[in-house]
Symmetry: D2
Subunit: 349 residues, 4 copies
């Protein structure tokens, strides 16, 4: 399907579905299949997903990333336990309180400049252990890649995992963009998460070319105890599960996930590079995955948004976010960079 | 796509996706769209769905029927309020406690022989009103068509609505199979629910040919106050919403919903009729929608299930459930009836 | 303190505080004590309470009986698990949904004629085990004595415990009136509960002479894991705990609980006996503890209530409840019986 | 009652019960009273409490301060709404997550140096209003006096109330030590809270001489809609309510609350004054209510604690908290100051 309109930079959620994914859905659309994931096909694909994360891993499909994160936290915590996270973490600022409200998990936040946690930062919340008046930390949750476009090196994750396990914490990776991290690092999905010590992973698909589907992956099957019930009662059990499984089938085949994510990452780099030399555009954060943050003259933002949709990240700092997706094209990037240069490059001449 | 294997009678959730629905998904798969339902296309389709249920109605898409029901109840209730339902209601027996656990809504159950409620039955739970020790009824929830394959006549719904409103209750219709009811009654979706007085409807699509998508519809927009937040925090906000909207677009176009549901209903009637005269098969409930209940010799159940999957409904009574779907064919029915007749008809000769 | 007014028969919650209990409160009212139950005195009394229920038992004080029950259920259940109970159980009909709302525990009700459960009745709810769509039974909860004034014999409890443990259920005893049962049976508190196999007990004090205080007792300390947190986050941790402990100190001293409960039981028997021969008063249930149920001519209820407060139990059946308390006197009973006889005995002459 | 042992400085929760309070409990301990607060005496005292806070105010007794705060928040919030508070607020750091877990209310924290909020600080959390992904602020909650011993002037509260109401927020005062603030300011309870614009107040009694009892007070009765149910289902409804009411009866009589709180405040001032000139003790915060914060040489803390119990507030800063209670005596203070001077004053000579 051709589309004359260029794509914007608002969100990787604005992108469409990869053709292979639609094809995989169509390919399983025949006959009847047991509902609720009890069909052999879904079970085969769940096993293939799990295998990316280790020999003993177990994977469960859910509808969206919010659910993957909330269910990961809930699976790990008893009612008095909480999760340490960065103040900027998606679970803290973009889930309308679902971790607390649905899972009963209080978030123990830590300020972080670049969206990443370290053992040193997390240690601030290892406090008053054993005091019944205080929510007890049980999970350390990090985003890979982060909301600020940064990527944890495997060694950084290993340090976090060592810290977590020393304090009897579960390390959870919010991997709604795990594929972007793995592609950026040139490693496998497991190497970007469980092989480095993560215990639970929200493995994202929707932002990277699926129609809609995420997986919760437990490195250790003991953590998955009761998860089938938890998924069902939290309203995340799809009846026609084969159509979620089919999406992951396509996603794993020939590493579609890596091709898509690697492309999105490359587009972000291309955009950053294309803006070099424009004095009034300052790239504000390292570009490690599929997003570029920049500060602009405040009055320039709205005119740009009229041509290419994107979001202001921090109004006070006039910092904007330009997100690239699996379907962002080189010509999208070049056209956008051209507009920026026209509007902001001139006065620097 | 051809498929040599016949379809079973286990569940309408076992069926596939109607070709028009996949085509509609593909048709919107181009370019970028605002995420989370803020794109104009989703808003147009939401309005079209809402319009089926009245001029002032509002519709919201969610992932599955569990969520549609739980969110309907939660939207209507404050923390001390509950919902009157039949003991056999899906919300009571098949949601793993989600209404109570996620929405905090206690179910006030009433025994019902045929799955239907009446004002007389519901009145049993209008008790101790104003007593702070007791959950106060706030919702009357009925399934249309019911879990037992029965259909409320509009006049029956009107009586329930009058009763509900007299007692300051909201009338909710679990319409995961509303289309089967409307097709059976030969009326519109609204006539089978809101026009008869229902205030909130879970309007189902997944069981009747969609890939995955349901809608919560409020007849009165005042009941929808805050629902966007409620949907989000209950993990039911799809990011790529246009692909849910597209399914409903196809569903409403030329009343695909009615064609699909009417066909499923007809297949149930055909199955019932084909079994007339087999002494050892007793049809146990009126066939009004897309399901046939029957009792058989207990030892006959498993051999039949090996040829065509279906579920035992009541083990003690040797009562089975044969569910027809939008994609059940006449030859599926005839083949199944033939198998039944071969196994159970002989001895009656 | 003298009081010319007689006491009514509305509730044992209407009674006052035993003088020994007030004295015990005053006796510990000196100096400072560590708050939140960490003072040595509270710990000593907790141990004394626990010792009534077995060598390994652990006891925790809470504010009221609602909390004791809800926390008992919550301690035993994971989010997808529920509790089997009689339809008439206090937790089901008088807690405004707290088990579901606060603890997320769905109640799996069973009709019961006399308020008591049996393994046969409970077995109805051992259904669809392992099916993720269904709340899984985890607790069997019974009231000792029951809301209908009946008492479980130790052998009946043993049978329930054997059944429970066979199905991997925890047996919980709602013992808000455990003392009345133990006094009626002439056994210890443990013999009326944990020695017969109960795993968790809500041990009541308030209805039997305390100012306000209940205990949750776990026969096996493993079940108490994390309970300090659970108590705190469920808003049941008293700061000045020594004053709750003091009440239980008095309660255990010289078995005040048995003296009070035995007296209340005797008053119920006395009332029942005093009504023999009044044709228009029919005792409707066995009087085994501290309550008498009776049916009267409907028009006689209100005139009687004006002289002695009591509640109508079942309006349709004109069945009333006369509850005796630790402070009900023989002259209260005789005066009440006299009034009844005057109003209802005449016409039978 | 004489007690040779001096009182410590750990907590006002360590103190005993004022003799008038015990006397009031004994005074109502006769006859039967309707349970659950429906007796005329409780209703009279509730009205007296409410009247402290305005003509239209309504008051409800609960067991403890945790519950008063959590129920205040829950009464004001719908499931997607949250409460702005200081990071150091008791609700945030000392309730084991109850606001989130029991009430489903996310706390939107703001750093604050002295425990107090200002409109400027609170405004940071007025962000993304109307965005369904974000918990929407609905309550502004402040502690009067604060956890750090500071007191809001009425004008400061008025500014907060104006800010709150401008943003459609409810102003809640955690008044577990409201009496200390009112005594310090020389104003009435209302002037220290509702007259300055607070909409809901947790009015504390336990820390200031009661046995156990707090009240939730709504300045506007519309906010109390449904509160009886909310209190019941949150396990905070006392059965023998007259004994809670009696405590408040004594508390209001001749302003016992002011005498007790004023005395505690005076003891804190006396302690602060007694430490002037000891170089190694630095008073770290203004002493405005009943608590003194000080920093000491770290190695001096434990030896002091062996003589008089108190808590370390901030281990890293070697900052300690000395809390005075209604029953702290001048000789307690002088003895404690003497010990401190002996241990820490010498080296400064």
């Amino acid at each position: 399907m051709s589309d004359a309109r260029p794509r914007g930079f608002a969100s990787d959620n604005s992108a469409g579905v990869h053709a292979s994914v639609l094809a995989a859905i169509a390919a399983v659309n025949h006959g009847h299949a047991l509902a609720y994931g009890h069909d052999p096909y879904t079970q085969e694909i769940e096993a293939r997903v799990a295998a990316q994360f280790g020999d003993r891993a177990r994977a469960f499909f859910v509808f969206n990333g919010s659910a993957a994160n909330v269910l990961s936290l809930r699976a790990a915590c008893r009612p008095w336990q909480g999760a340490i996270c960065a103040e900027t973490a998606h679970v803290n600022v973009d889930e309308c309180g679902a971790p607390e409200s649905v899972a009963g998990v209080k978030l123990l936040t830590v300020p972080s400049a670049d969206g990443k946690l370290t053992p040193q930062l997390a240690e601030q919340r290892i406090d008053r252990i054993g005091d019944e008046h205080v929510v007890q930390p049980r999970v350390l949750t990090v985003s890979q890649s982060t909301e600020l476009g940064t990527v944890y090196q495997p060694a950084e994750l290993q340090a976090l995992a060592a810290f977590a396990h020393e304090h009897d914490l579960v390390l959870h990776v919010d991997g709604s963009r795990l594929t972007n991290a793995a592609a950026a690092l040139g490693v496998s999905l497991g190497e970007a998460s469980t092989a480095a010590g993560a215990d639970v992973v929200s493995f994202g698909g929707t932002k990277n070319g699926l129609l809609g589907g995420e997986a919760v992956v437990f490195a250790d099957p003991a953590l998955a105890d009761g998860f089938l019930y938890l998924r069902k009662l939290t309203l995340q059990l799809a009846s026609k599960m084969r159509f979620v499984a089919a999406q992951f089938d396509a996603y794993l085949t020939d590493e579609l996930w890596r091709r898509n994510a690697g492309h999105a990452n490359a587009m972000a780099t291309r955009l950053r590079d294309a803006l070099v030399g424009i004095d009034r555009v300052r790239i504000t954060r390292p570009v490690q995955a599929n997003v570029v943050f920049a500060s602009l003259p405040a009055e320039a933002i709205e005119p740009l948004q009229r041509e290419f949709p994107f979001y202001t990240w921090d109004e006070r700092a006039a910092e904007v976010r330009w997100m690239c997706a699996w379907d962002t094209t080189e010509s999208d990037v070049d056209a956008f960079a051209g507009v920026i240069r026209r509007q902001l490059g001139a006065s620097s001449a």
